[in-house]
Subunit: 194 residues, 2 copies
């Protein structure tokens, strides 16, 4: 486990909850010395146990090339303080620049798969191993993967639960409406039947 | 187009934007006189044009049975005023009751596919035709579909854009964190680079 302040491991049976509410995420990938980061609005869990996810990643992207080579990627959840960065990395290609260097993004190596995960500004990350599904990757740009590691900032996700409150607004998830407009999560309501 | 107050058709090229930000949705389905409604936290667009989506629907549900029979389903977006209903229909099976009757849910027939869509409380709905993909339906409970019709309440979605403001809180989308806790969308931030 890299030494990221406040970060603690998330039990694998709780990993799907990190993206249950549809946040926009950052996908990081690496193959040898090549690495990349991109934004993805389209991801979802598909199974709790084992934790599995689906992410839409355009087949023309550098990220898809790296994932095909390494068979792995990470999902990082940017907090609201990273809205500008999320929008910026979603609008440049990593083929001709190292976006981490260009945007000054500090990283750590994730413990299970040695993927670059953000050193600050994210509420959580998930390490994923691609489940090769050529047809859905080709037809729908949809990549299925199994989550093999996860961690979260204990100030906002603890014991398997999100804890949004007035004190952690900068870490709260963001949800892209399109065109650079993001909804910030925050106002939590509990169903009385729950 | 059914006469739902404030509802206007959404151009198909904008349909994917309705679920771009990861809202929890209601899935409605019908086959002959049988019909059902369930909640789904796991859905996403997979393509803008033609508009295509992926939704995770457990293979043991009555909804999957109806979708397999009819080849269609609708996605309705509950506003925050429907949190209790969303949680309730997500925790009962429609095999032994008509949940529309049980919960007093009024519906209209959607124009393209004659599916039951909610008469009030939703911000939008999408009519979907299943794209049969046996392997992903079996392995990941993931159903791909093409959106063939969409409409939204013009008080919150107009000209292809979400318009969250202080006056439409009841229609704003909800995002299930798990265990009956929902984040309400609402606080919109625009990236300065956009």
């Amino acid at each position: 486990m890299p030494n990221i302040p406040h970060f603690l491991p998330v039990a694998l049976e709780h990993a799907s909850r990190l993206i249950n509410h549809g946040p926009t995420v950052l996908i990081t990938s690496a193959d040898g010395t090549r690495r990349n980061i991109m934004a993805a609005a389209w991801s979802m869990p598909v199974e709790f146990t084992p934790p599995r996810v689906a992410v839409v990643i355009d087949k023309r992207t550098f990220t898809r090339e790296l994932i095909a080579a390494s068979g792995t990627f990470a999902i990082c959840l940017p907090g609201s303080a990273l809205i500008e960065l999320t929008y910026a990395v979603g609008n440049r290609s990593g083929r001709t620049m190292d976006k981490f260097e260009h945007f000054g993004i500090g990283t750590h190596d994730s413990p299970a798969l040695q993927l670059p995960v953000l050193a600050s500004g994210c509420s959580a990350w998930l390490e994923c191993r691609l489940i090769p599904e050529k047809h859905t990757e080709d037809a729908y740009d949809t990549c299925f993967a199994e989550v093999v590691g996860a961690a979260a900032d204990a100030r906002i996700f603890r014991n398997g639960h999100w804890l949004f409150d007035g004190g952690n607004a900068d870490l709260q998830t963001i949800h892209h409406l399109g065109g650079g407009n993001f909804v910030c999560a925050g106002n939590v309501v509990r169903a009385t039947g729950a």
